[in-house]
């Protein structure tokens, strides 16, 4: 197994910036990225979790709870994206693309 350094994404550019993290199981948090390692363990400051619909735990709601300083375990991290520039939008796919 060659080194772990060949990460696809260099998280360095996100340090001290807001990131959104989706975790396996459906939790979703945002926070300021303070640190990370090659296993994708993340340190998030002022983290906020988006609470989920109790009927459908796959859906997040606009309700939040504040978590403070947290570590996200790398193995549970599904997705990382910058909060900057991330917005909910109207359906961008017209009729043809039946998503």
């Amino acid at each position: 197994m060659s080194g772990r350094k060949e990460t696809v994404l260099d998280l360095a550019k996100f340090v001290d910036k807001g990131v959104q993290v989706k975790l396996t199981g459906g939790r979703q948090v945002t926070g300021t990225l303070k640190g990370y390692d090659q296993l994708l363990n993340l340190v998030l400051d002022e983290a906020v979790e988006f609470l989920r619909d109790s009927d459908d735990p796959l859906k997040t709601t606009d309700q939040t709870r504040s978590l403070g300083l947290i570590v996200c375990r790398g193995t549970a991290v599904m997705l990382v994206s910058p909060t900057d520039g991330t917005d909910e939008i109207a359906n961008p796919f017209l009729q043809p693309d039946g998503a």
């Binding site: 696809v8 994404l9 859906k59 520039g85 359906n91 796919f93």
Partner: protein, 151 residues
């Protein structure tokens, strides 16, 4: 052709990725690795039920959460050229077989049958499968194990 070679070739192309949780991501592939982790740019995320949408400048997706990737048809023609080249480079016939038997010792399940069959397949696979598959295969095996453990 290896799925990961196709994916590698698809760099720079638009693609659709569906995750195991049903969310889909449309974006341009920036980079990928042997674990199928991917980095997309100019992404549109669609919720599982298809009624909410988000745009994000980029995102990183862990390979083991992916269900499938839909890539543009023309990408498969581009990958062909590359593998043909590397195929002629690496055609040592014995390689596939040696590797095969080595692995067999591990599980120890079906040695006798495996070896007989091995020489047959070895030829077909010698076309480049042998070495090419070894590397990424063992890695993704590892990541798969990780996924199960957690689930």
């Amino acid at each position: 052709m290896l799925p990961l070679s196709l994916l590698k070739t698809a760099q720079g192309h638009p693609m659709l990725v569906e995750l195991k949780n049903g969310e889909t991501y449309n974006g341009h592939l920036v980079n990928c690795d042997t674990w199928m982790n991917i980095h997309l740019r100019e992404v549109i995320c669609t919720s599982k039920d298809g009624d909410r949408f988000w745009r994000m400048p980029e995102c990183y997706i862990r390979g083991n959460t992916i269900k499938y990737l839909r890539v543009p048809d023309e990408v498969i023609d581009k990958v062909q050229e590359e593998t043909n080249k590397s195929r002629s480079d690496r055609k040592p016939p014995g390689v596939g077989r040696g590797r095969g038997r080595g692995r067999e010792d591990g599980p120890g399940g079906r040695p006798a049958k495996g070896i007989g069959r091995g020489s047959d397949d070895g030829g077909g696979r010698g076309m480049g499968g042998g070495r090419g598959r070894g590397g990424p295969g063992s890695k993704s095996g590892g990541s798969r194990g990780g996924g199960r453990g957690r689930g």
